[in-house]
């Protein structure tokens, strides 16, 4: 083991230990645990959440993207759904939306650093993914799903990566796997092997984007299609 590698391992250990300790830390002074919630295990996500709160986003758009008043519903916004790594949200945050029919225009955040913008974007996508997952899982009266429509969806969105899929007749398991593939659920790591794993990063990004845009009907159709495969 090289000296540099050893240093990285120590560094990762410190980060993970800090994350673990933070997860167990009771409410700290000046931190509204009732509103912001307990400290998250992932320090990057926790930082993103705090950044989202500190710059006032949660005031209008809701901490978990349940909007207040006239604010845009980020959970269902097409604009957010089409964003990739802040390519849409970032420029919008910098400029604001001064021309609007609403009482209060969306302010501009031109003074924020790129890292702060990235943190806001990260929390918005995280919040949207959590919310959309819950919505799809709890959706009722969706029906059995249309296998033909599922096939069309699969060919448009999935087949470029998934030429073949393992057979699985369990609808609930399929649904869970579509929404949150287990292979992409690993805890974050700064290990270089994983940090530079572009394939997994791209897959995580892609599935996150899909999750943010699935309707309950889309998922039901996909399940029906995958079950119909021989």
């Amino acid at each position: 083991m090289s000296h540099r590698h050893a240093l990285y391992l120590v560094f990762c250990g410190v980060i993970l230990a800090a994350g673990s300790a933070a997860a167990q830390t009771p409410a700290r002074p000046g931190y509204d645990i009732n509103y912001i919630g307990p400290t998250m295990a992932d320090p990057v996500l926790q930082h993103s959440k705090e950044t989202y709160v500190l710059f006032g986003c949660s005031y209008c758009h809701g901490l978990y993207l349940v909007a207040r008043g006239e604010a845009t519903d980020l959970m269902h916004s097409h604009l957010v759904g089409g964003d990739e790594n802040g390519n849409v949200i970032g420029p919008l945050l910098r400029k604001g939306i001064p021309q609007t029919a609403k009482l209060s225009p969306m302010p501009q955040f031109s003074d924020l650093s790129d890292a702060q913008i990235a943190a806001l974007v990260r929390w918005i996508h995280y919040g949207r993914q959590q919310g959309r997952y819950k919505e799809v899982m709890e959706a009722k009266d969706v029906g059995p799903g249309n296998a033909a429509a599922g096939k069309t969806y699969f060919e448009q969105k999935c087949v470029s990566c998934h030429a073949t899929l393992p057979k699985n007749n369990d609808a609930a398991a399929l649904k869970a796997q579509i929404l949150k593939p287990q292979a992409l659920e690993a805890a974050p790591s700064w290990n270089l092997d994983r940090l530079n794993d572009a394939k997994t990063a791209a897959a995580r990004q892609r599935h996150g984007a899909l999750l943010e845009n699935y309707t309950a009907g889309d998922v039901a159709n996909l399940v029906a299609y995958l079950q119909s495969m021989k």
Binding site: Y35, Y52, Y59, T100
Partner: protein, 301 residues
């Protein structure tokens, strides 16, 4: 400057050119600090849903923050009919019917809740709009009056204000015009010209100058108060950055908070300073309001 409570009341009621403004000042109370009557816009308690059920918590927090005046949203005392299974139109009709036929003694009891805790309701915040019938507007004023408010305020534009002008005088009250910073909407109250235009619709109109939004719209708050203080009943006191900038903690934006407070104090204007914040904080609402209030107290020390 040391101004006694008696002085404040006299000033509030004497020598003012607007009949509406003569009604704006309430009895000074525990958040009357060195010549400025402070209150709260309770939107500040971000974690506290504004509804009837949470009203006791609101009162508790106001007392905890040492505040004796509040601009109370109607939703703190009106029932919510927008329940699952109830259409928007149906809920709106039920609310209108409730306003027209409130339970006997309902408002008196609510007023007592606040009175018992030393809190004056200066205004009721309610967004009167096109869906309001004339009778409903009258009922809104009567309800607000019954809980002790001197006026109503809301986020309506010029068109609604034009219609509203005839109502407050009938009830011995005023209606206040509240600005945002939407400079692209010709109906919106957003700059000096639009507010002045609205004030001209009725002698019973006052302005509630939202300092944050006025600053974000590149307005000159100090200049506005210099020119129009006789028609200003309150300021929503918070901080924001210019050029449609973001909200900021007190002292970190472009709003001239200290100058505004000293203008009110040194000129003995009966303008209520309603603390309001929309900036983000990791602190509790109570802690953040206290920081803001302490900032203002230092400005007046």
């Amino acid at each position: 400057m040391n101004l006694t409570r008696r002085d404040f009341g006299k000033l509030a009621l004497a020598g003012l050119s607007s009949s509406a403004l003569a009604q704006t000042a309430g009895k000074p109370n525990r958040s009357y600090i060195n010549g400025v009557q402070f209150g709260l816009q309770p939107f500040c308690y971000h974690d506290l849903a504004m509804n009837r059920e949470n009203r006791p918590i609101l009162i508790q927090r106001l007392v905890q923050n040492g505040l004796g005046m509040v601009e109370l949203h109607a939703v703190w005392y009106e029932p919510n009919f927008a329940l699952p299974g109830v259409s928007a139109d149906e809920a709106r009709d039920k609310l209108r019917n409730w306003r027209l036929n409130p339970p006997a003694g309902y408002f008196r009891d609510i007023k007592k809740e606040f009175d018992d805790n030393g809190i004056t309701i200066c205004t009721v915040y309610i967004n009167v709009g096109d869906s309001f019938t004339d009778a409903e507007i009258d009922a809104t004023f009567e309800g607000a009056k019954a809980i002790g408010a001197k006026g109503i305020v809301g986020s309506y534009g010029l068109a609604v204000a034009h219609r509203l002008g005839a109502f407050p005088g009938k009830h011995g009250m005023y209606a206040s015009l509240h600005n945002h910073d939407n400079l692209s909407d010709p109906d919106a109250f957003s700059n000096e010209a639009s507010i002045v235009k609205g004030l001209a619709y009725s002698p019973d109109f006052t302005a509630t100058l939202d300092v944050r939004h006025f600053t974000a719209g590149n307005g000159d708050c100090v200049g506005f108060l210099e020119r129009h203080h006789q028609r200003v009943s309150a300021v929503h006191l918070g901080d924001r950055r210019k050029n449609n900038g973001r909200s900021a903690p007190f002292g970190e934006g472009d709003a001239p908070i200290i100058e505004i407070l000293r203008l009110i104090r040194d000129n003995r204007w009966p303008i209520t300073a309603l603390l309001e914040f929309e900036h983000g904080t990791l602190r509790t609402g109570v802690d953040e309001v206290q920081l803001m209030f302490d900032y203002c107290k230092r400005a007046l020390a």
